[in-house]
């Protein structure tokens, strides 16, 4: 049940955004994509989520080409939370989460009590069960993101793709979301591929990190191996000091300053 990307090339408006991308997401891992703005992280997850068509290369999930899997079936295997999500005014948490059942339903197989149970369970897993009848608009940023994640869980996927799940959230909500993702990964064994902006978060929460620069993979591996002063200088153009966080058994960095223009 691994996801494999090989030799991927993506053009947008005749401009090459991604070239020669190789990526492997092993079952049960949390994989983070990091990289500066414009490095192609979002394009990569969107292509994997079939929101953008690849020009060449292959994306496969447990050995099957993603393009050959019917979109509804794919939605039962892989759930995607894109960055751009819209809400109408009077949507309740339960309603939103119930939309996660869409790939399991068909004309002859309508929403039933079993689906209701799965929706309830999805809300319980994210701690949103008590909020089931609340309007999405009355929720805090972190609660809202948890509700979206419940929707993805209602799809009962094996693989979860999150495009910048913590962007626009206060620091405590960022932690709330990342801890939830980690919990879901540990307890349900769901593989997670996410785009993160904060490098320290990536360091702290990932099993494996892919660093993108100018549309290609700059480096990848375990967080401790990937993040070092040279990479930070090379990819992000910052001079940073790296420290050891003994409590969480991971490293972190504090930027010292920029090393070059426009990076």
């Amino acid at each position: 049940m691994d996801l494999k990307v090989s030799n991927l090339e993506v053009f947008l408006e005749n401009k090459r955004i991604l070239k020669n991308i190789h990526l492997e997401a092993h079952e049960g891992e949390i994989i983070s994509l990091i990289g500066p703005n414009g490095s192609g992280k979002s394009t990569l997850v969107k292509t994997i989520s079939r929101l953008i068509k690849a020009h060449s290369g292959e994306i496969s999930y447990s050995g099957r080409r993603i393009g050959s899997i019917p979109t509804k079936e794919l939605a039962r295997l892989i759930a995607v939370l894109p960055q751009e999500k819209k809400l109408n005014t009077d949507l309740t948490v339960e309603q939103l989460v119930s939309y996660g059942r869409h790939p399991h339903l068909s004309f002859g197989n309508r929403f039933g009590s079993e689906d209701r149970e799965i929706v309830m369970e999805a809300m319980r897993l994210t701690g949103m069960a008590d909020y089931w009848d609340r309007s999405m608009h009355s929720l805090s940023g972190g609660e809202r993101q948890r509700a979206w994640i419940s929707m993805a869980l209602a799809q009962q996927p094996r693989f979860l793709i999150l495009d910048e799940p913590t962007t626009y959230l206060d620091i405590s909500y960022q932690m709330e979301v990342l801890e939830l993702v980690e919990n879901l990964n540990r307890s349900l064994g769901i593989t997670v591929l996410m785009v993160l902006h904060d490098l320290n978060h990536a360091w702290r929460y990932s099993d494996s990190i892919y660093v993108l620069k100018d549309g290609s993979v700059h480096s990848h591996g375990r967080p401790g191996d990937v993040i070092d002063r040279n990479m930070l200088k090379d990819v992000f153009g910052i001079d940073a000091r790296i420290y050891e966080d003994t409590a969480n058994n991971c490293k972190f960095f504090i930027p010292g300053g920029r090393t070059k223009e426009g990076a």
Partner: protein, 333 residues
């Protein structure tokens, strides 16, 4: 914000249905000749040929049925378009469907008035081809709603120019087409009704497949794709359904604007944005509002009657603005 619960929404739907039935009787009973409810029921049952029975069967009934069909079709068309475009300004008369139908209808009425009976067919073809042109113009690796609306507005304005050109070159024929331009239901016969009802019923049946999909599309194309929906295919189907409905409506009533834009908004204020309620609610509300406006159009200056389009816009628009200002619901985006 408090969320409407299902029981309350069902109650509102039933209330609209009750007003709808009331509106049917008002429409049947009022006009140049007033007919009481008991006479209406008598005329419906008895075989005896009376003047009132003649009026009811040959004048009032087709007109009432036409008003319902047109109101349902335009409102449904608007509700679907606003749903798939996620844009509160979408409506059959904004995105060019009505303009296309209107132009073809006008073309026949002005250039070939002897073929006036082809007007419904021409309007229908015009509406569908306008939709197709707009869709192709907006296509670029898929259709983005905003581009579709802009293309529609542009096409509308081209057809508008065409209408004005026709009227400028043939000023002596303008009076004959005024009814079609403002939208009216006078002189509707069973023949007109028979011609369009298969299209409208087909459209309604197809629309009933859409509510769940429209709800998911409201979350954005990316989320909908992630949930396994084929977004472009669904959108194309929905646009096809709504242009079928709008085209059929234009062919009976002419260029009746505003219903398609206004009714879904009014319904949304009462029922919220869940399309499982919004779609049937808009249908009932559309039929009701058109019936009431058409009845008013007949009795306001009786025995003279004015085109329903005028009533619709002059009374409907202020009422609509009032509801928008005090309403709590608005379109999500």
């Amino acid at each position: 914000m408090e969320t409407l619960n299902i029981a309350k929404k069902s109650a509102v739907l039933w209330a609209i249905f009750a007003v709808f039935i009331l509106a049917i009787f008002l429409s049947l009973g009022n006009g140049a000749v007033k007919i009481s409810i008991s006479e209406i029921s008598a005329a419906m049952i008895s075989e005896e040929v009376t003047a009132n029975r003649q009026i009811i069967w040959n004048v009032r009934f087709p007109r009432t049925v036409a008003a319902i069909l047109v109101g349902v079709a335009l409102s449904l068309s608007g509700a679907i378009l606003q749903g798939i475009m996620r844009n509160p300004l979408a409506g059959p008369n904004i995105i060019g469907v009505s303009a296309g139908g209107g132009f073809f209808g006008l073309l026949i009425l002005i250039l070939f008035p002897q073929y006036f009976f082809l007007v419904p067919f021409g309007a229908f073809v015009g509406a569908l081809s306008a939709t197709m042109v707009i869709y192709l113009l907006a296509w670029k690796d898929g259709v983005m709603p905003s581009r579709l609306i802009l293309a529609g507005v542009a096409i509308s304005s081209i057809f508008g120019a065409g209408n004005n050109a026709l009227m400028t070159f043939y000023p002596e024929r303008v009076s004959g087409v005024l009814g079609f331009m403002v939208g009216g239901l006078s002189a509707i016969t069973w023949r007109d009704v028979n011609m369009v009802y298969p299209f409208i019923l087909t459209g309604v049946a197809a629309a009933l497949l859409l509510p769940g999909k429209l709800n998911i599309l409201l979350l954005g194309d990316d989320v909908a794709t992630g949930l396994g929906m084929r977004v472009e295919r669904t959108r194309l189907f929905a646009i096809g359904v709504s242009s079928l409905l709008a085209g059929a409506a234009v062919s009976v009533v002419g260029m009746l604007g505003f219903v398609g834009l206004m009714v879904p908004h009014i319904t949304r204020i009462f029922l919220g944005s869940d399309h499982r309620y919004l779609i049937p609610g808009s249908m009932l509300m559309g039929g009701t509002i058109l019936l009431l406006c058409d009845t008013l159009a007949r009795v306001m200056f009786a025995p003279m009657e004015i085109p329903v389009g005028i009533i619709m816009s002059s009374l409907g628009a202020p009422f609509f603005l009032y509801l928008l200002r005090k309403g709590r619901g608005h379109h999500g985006s």
